[in-house]
């Protein structure tokens, strides 16, 4: 833990402080939108970190992560709306349900790896989506469920969201440095070697799935409580894709990855706010382009960008070759 008090981390804390004080910067109701944006970004960070655990750390590339997020949301909503229970019961139920599906995913991963595992995550997502659409008495199909909750100040949600993002990120960093984390990384790097060294691959893959699933469910429950609506949109492939884009562009497998990447969410809001609604699909297209560009040139994400080196290379590329040659020739010739 001591090696976390680095100059860089201290500087980060100083820089983050203005964000924490947003509720106090704006007068009257003007803080509401910035707070909402921060809540959405923070929850994306938390959610992306959970995917980071599953796919970045353990290498189980999942394209259906929105499933656990939605399970958390639906559990909360069903508990509150259909069963009239306390929201914390819903939260707990969501965690248990997601843990179960995490276990299922772990079991699947024992038989399937790589591409086939990825497809099975898509299949699982599709099955859950079918259930959400067809089990009308419980999930209310396409209309979704509407929660009625007491009016809670947005500031509360603001700080809870930031707290969640920080907590999950710190957990990720801790996990990465822990013994379990090194098992995960071993599985990611070379599964056969890990197995031959005595790592119980199936057990650790399952643990990874369960942890990721449970945490994602917490985020889902939180967001559902905040927005007061849950519907099959929560299960859309677009959310799963956004999660992976954000993490990959930021840097898969690094604690800072999702944090960098989630700033992109603001980009979309910016486009929508300035250019207007019609151009919203272009924001999504832009995501796709950024993703492709990153994968081609910087597959390790923003965290791997070394500004000094990049600038140096750019300058070298732009300098005409003969000047360099001339400069390299000894004086006088």
């Amino acid at each position: 833990m001591q090696n976390w008090i680095t100059p860089k981390n201290i500087v980060v804390c100083i820089l983050i402080t203005p964000v924490l004080l947003i509720p106090f910067f704006y007068k009257g109701g003007a803080a509401l939108l910035p707070m909402h944006l921060v809540i959405m970004v923070a929850s994306y960070i938390a959610l992306a970190q959970t995917w980071n655990i599953l796919s970045g750390l353990t290498g189980m590339f999942s394209l259906g992560h929105a499933t656990f997020y939605a399970l958390g949301g639906y559990s909360l909503a069903v508990a509150m709306v259909k069963l009239g229970l306390n929201p914390f019961v819903g939260l707990a139920a969501g965690i248990v349900l997601s843990a179960f599906f995490g276990l299922l995913l772990g079991a699947i991963s024992s038989r399937l790896t790589g591409f086939f595992f990825t497809i099975s995550t898509i299949a699982l997502a599709q099955v859950i989506r079918t259930v959400a659409m067809q089990w009308t008495p419980v999930t209310n199909s396409i209309t979704g469920l509407k929660i009625f909750r007491p009016i809670v100040s947005r500031m509360v949600f603001f700080y809870v969201a930031i707290g969640l993002a920080v907590a999950v990120s710190i957990f990720f960093a801790y996990l990465r440095r822990s013994r379990m984390g090194s098992m995960f990384v071993a599985i990611r790097e070379n599964i056969h070697l890990a197995r031959s060294l005595g790592v119980d691959v199936v057990r650790y893959k399952t643990i990874s799935s369960i942890i990721a699933a449970m945490l994602a469910s917490v985020v889902g429950s939180f967001i559902t409580y905040y927005i007061q609506v849950v519907d099959p949109n929560y299960l859309s492939p677009l959310i799963s894709e956004k999660i992976i884009m954000v993490t990959i562009i930021g840097g898969m497998g690094y604690a800072w990855g999702p944090i960098w990447g989630s700033v992109l969410i603001l980009l979309e809001e910016f486009i929508r706010g300035t250019l207007g609604a019609r151009y919203a699909p272009l924001a999504t297209a832009l995501y796709g382009v950024i993703l492709i560009v990153f994968m081609l040139f910087r597959p390790n994400g923003i965290v791997s960008i070394n500004l000094k080196r990049s600038f140096g290379m750019a300058i070298a590329a732009l300098t005409p070759a003969k000047n360099i040659e001339a400069a390299a020739r000894p004086e006088g010739k």
């Binding site: 394209l63 299949a123 259930v131 884009m245 492709i292 994968m295």
Partner: protein, 294 residues
Amino acid sequence: MNLAIWTTIVINGLCTGSLFGLVSAAFSFQFGALRMMNFSYGAFVMVGMYIMYAGVNHLGLHAMAVVPILIVLYFFIGYLLRATLLKSADPNVQIIITSGVALVLESVVLFIVGALPRSLLAGIPPTWKIPFPEGILVISKLNLLTFAVSSAVLIGFSMFLKRTWLGMTIRAVVQQKEAASVVGVDAERIINVGFGISFVITAIASIMISLQFVLEPTAGHYYQLIGFLVCVIAGMGNLKGGFYAGLLVGLISTMANIFAATWHDAILFILFVIILTFLPNGVFVSSKSISRAV
């Protein structure tokens, strides 16, 4: 239900299945033979459908005139795609890049066209009505055309791979890339060409789909999933098996529609997971799989 109706249902199921087989053939070739994970496959099917629509409804061309344009265009798109974006061999990278491409395609189409569903053809589809014991057999001509086209394309493609020089070269590169390079084959270019050809099959599939079904920007997801499903059931790279698997999926789909309509999607996907888990090489394992030796 009498015999005539059952037979009608089965025949229509087979025709839909042949469409599934066609759709997944290109995907199977890309994945099994060329080792490219293409998550933008469905998106390209969707784009092809919209190009047909644009050609027929906005440029006023006859459908038959748009077809060759589309096919040639798609060959070049496939070639370029492989040449520029899909150079990496790491499957995760390919998945991510092609997902990005799919996202861009869908968003741009949505932006240009809007989400309103459209149909290419209006009016009653032409049918053959054949008298049959206990009733009349109603067979849609479009369905039969689909079946004929799918079979022709798949047989043609198999022949191409087996008999023509280019086809044999592609197979050689797929099986033994270094050895092929040693004997003077430009492996990268051949793979690019192979990819282009698989895109031609994609174009044909999207033409057949646009004739029968509704066009929406999100239409690609369904065909992507069908592609996965049929490929996995057939075994990757297994073209002939892919066709039969397509027929099988079409029939299962039709039966599910009759008996357990609401759970149709869940049935297909649970089946999919079961097969993936217990028969990862596919149901129609064939020694004639393209990625194996002749």
